[in-house]
């Protein structure tokens, strides 16, 4: 068939272009704009080149926040992924209780972030919170506003409570798609429970688990609301994760230039880690990992 050339066709993608421009490109360019300029007020800006980037790269503050952020993401992945898979493996496969479990597990996913934060903020309070009061009564020193370890434990347990079901639901979907014949063959071959998991369930779940890990990584790496509501980044800077630090800098101190440079680097780090992760996983997959 002969190809019709009609330049007017470009008009047809115009609505999409405008939409994307307003929703993504223009806001992003504003940030880029801020990151290379400085101002002394009165809406007068002047060019500073990559100075802000250099400043941010040299600042301990950002590196510390990045370190805490990486630790946070690593810990919650290390807990949520195995726990989610474990829950999925032990869920009823069909019938009323299966649906019941699915609904119960979806509940935390439906709660808004700041509500989750508030719930745990109150739950953990030593004076009125059930958890904080009980721990205190048992003689365990627990106070997330003063003790770094308690603060970390609280935000990690909170995130595990909030998001493990996502991993579990995805893993469950993966498990459900395995035909019965695989389990029957495994019985015939006298495979152990571990071997069934290792050679049948895990390989068949790999695809959805990859998505689960990627989602959980990105989400946890960008987390803001819940820890902000619970600890406000404290005690000191102990739970000041990247986005909390960024907001402090941009809105608290109104250092727009450094904050913009910070944002761009933040964005690039997420992009880079996700890309590396995705590439490694798909490569493994193709090789028959």
């Amino acid at each position: 068939m002969e190809k019709t050339v009609n330049q007017k066709a470009w008009f047809l993608i115009l609505p999409v272009l405008i939409l994307v421009a307003f929703s993504a490109v223009i806001p992003l360019m504003t940030v880029v704009n801020y990151s290379v300029q400085d101002t002394f007020g009165q809406n007068k800006f002047f060019w500073v080149g990559l100075e802000w980037f250099a400043e941010m790269l040299a600042s301990d503050r950002m590196w510390d926040a990045l370190g805490r952020q990486l630790m946070f993401s690593a810990i919650i992945l290390a807990i949520q992924v195995p726990l989610g898979v474990f829950v999925a493996l032990n869920m009823p496969k069909s019938g009323f209780w299966s649906s019941f479990c699915l609904v119960m597990m979806s509940l935390p996913l439906l709660i808004p972030w700041n509500v989750v934060g508030t719930i745990w903020q109150i739950f953990g309070r030593v004076d009125i919170g059930l958890l904080g009061y009980t721990l205190d009564a048992l003689g365990i020193s627990y106070n997330y506003t003063q003790n770094t370890f308690a603060a970390w434990a609280t935000i990690i347990v909170m995130d595990v409570w909030h998001w493990t079901s996502l991993v579990a639901l995805l893993a469950f979907a993966g498990l459900k798609s395995i035909p019965d014949a695989y389990y029957q063959a495994a019985k015939i071959d006298q495979a152990s429970r571990w071997a069934i998991f290792r050679y049948i369930e895990l390989p068949k779940m790999m695809g959805v688990l990859m998505i689960a890990i990627l989602l959980r990584f990105m989400d946890s790496f960008m987390i803001y609301t819940e820890p902000f509501v619970v600890t406000g980044g404290g005690p000191g800077n102990a739970t000041t994760l990247l986005s909390i630090d960024l907001v402090k800098m941009a809105l608290g101190q109104f250092d727009l230039g450094p904050a913009a440079a910070f944002s761009i680097m933040y964005y690039l780090v997420i992009l880079l880690i996700s890309w590396v992760f995705y590439t490694v996983m798909t490569n493994l997959d193709n090789k028959g990992g």
């Binding site: 063959a185 019985k187 015939i188 071959d189 006298q190 390989p203």
Partner: protein
């Protein structure tokens, strides 16, 4: 290797079966002799796979017992029964190499590594995958995967029985033939009790010493291919085995003669008065076209299949098939048919009635 006895066995998938119709497998008594190759033949949904899964222990029967060499194994697990089973669709362990796949059942049972290596090599050669032993199973084609499944089924030498559940469905015709031949030679070599489920009569007849025909949850006939051909015990066996299947027509029977639509047909035996639905069955091979004698037919169509011709004709409004020789000329004067009296079977309520010797 073992003799397998089914004692009063029946199975229903519903937990409170109300009547016979609720049973996927109706009451059954049968002994599978040690070292024989059986084919379990029947149309889809007739209970073949149910029976197979009960024998392998994947399913526990609602009633009755299963004995391996007179030991009751009804409640034993699949592993304890020491059975190998190959399924309709290939089941391979994706992340393992072909070699590890084949070795898996042996490793799980703690066999000696040197023996495993040797045995896997041997099975690899048997299924024609020696070259690919070290590739991963994931990327292979469906028939390669099914060959691995077959190999995994055959890798253990000490199994009580080898069960196949339509294993060649996904394999292309050329390879089918080759694998079936290999299964047969394997059977000759090791003498395992083999049960092969299929809905393909050619497959059943070429593979097995004895064919078990199932219909609607019931075993209707067990016999050699020859017996199934000559004396189908049930009209279903008549239809199902043979190409085309047996012609069955309603009749009344009196002594040595059957009356079909008021015309006499000679029988090879004498019969007492028969009650119920009476029919006679004649295989197309034993129907002869004539130009005068016998029952009147209208020839509708002649299909030349090479070795012989299949004549599709009409007898009193219902279809009848006739097998004619390749060189027989079928002209417009061929208006009647006769039956070979010794080959006319009489059925009462679908079951064969042999009558008294003539």
């Amino acid at each position: 290797m073992a003799k397998i006895t089914l004692d009063n066995l029946a199975h229903s998938y519903s937990s409170k079966p109300k009547g016979e119709d609720d049973f996927a497998l109706k009451e059954l008594n049968h002994v599978w002799s040690d070292g024989e190759a059986y084919a379990l033949l029947g149309s889809s949904g007739c209970g073949k796979s149910t029976l197979l899964n009960i024998i392998s222990g994947l399913l526990h029967p609602s009633q009755g017992r299963i004995l391996f060499d007179d030991v009751d194994v009804t409640q034993s697990s699949t592993a304890d029964r020491n059975i190998a089973q190959v399924f309709q669709f290939p089941v391979v362990y994706d992340t393992m190499t072909v070699r590890d796949n084949l070795a898996f059942p042996l490793k799980n049972r703690g066999a000696d590594p040197a023996y495993i290596a040797e045995r896997v090599q041997q099975i690899g050669a048997m299924i024609g995958m020696e070259e690919q032993l070290d590739t991963r199973a994931r990327g292979l084609t469906a028939d390669a995967k099914q060959k691995i499944s077959l190999g995994r089924g055959m890798v253990r030498e000490d199994v009580n029985a080898l069960l196949f559940d339509e294993p060649l469905t996904v394999i292309d015709p050329h390879m089918k033939w080759e694998l079936r031949t290999q299964l047969k030679s394997l059977h000759h070599e090791f003498g395992h009790t083999m049960i092969y489920v299929t809905h393909d009569q050619t497959e059943a007849l070429t593979f097995a010493d004895k064919v078990v025909v199932m219909y609607d949850g019931r075993v209707v006939q067990i016999g050699t291919p020859q017996e199934l051909f000559d004396k189908p015990q049930h009209t279903f066996v008549g239809y199902f085995i043979g190409s085309p299947g047996m012609n069955v027509m309603p009749a009344t029977v009196d002594g040595n003669t059957a009356m079909v639509h008021g015309l006499p047909v000679d029988l090879g035996a004498g019969y007492a008065a028969l009650a119920g639905k009476v029919e006679i069955g004649v295989r197309p091979e034993f129907v002869t076209l004539t130009d005068g004698a016998g029952l009147p037919v209208k020839v509708r169509r002649v299909e030349d299949v090479g070795r012989h011709k299949i004549v599709r004709a009409e007898l009193f409004g219902s279809e009848i098939n006739i097998l004619a020789g390749e060189d027989q000329n079928i002209g417009p004067d061929m208006t009647h048919i006769t039956f070979d009296p010794a080959r006319v079977n009489v059925y009462v309520n679908d079951w064969l009635n042999e009558g008294e010797a003539a």
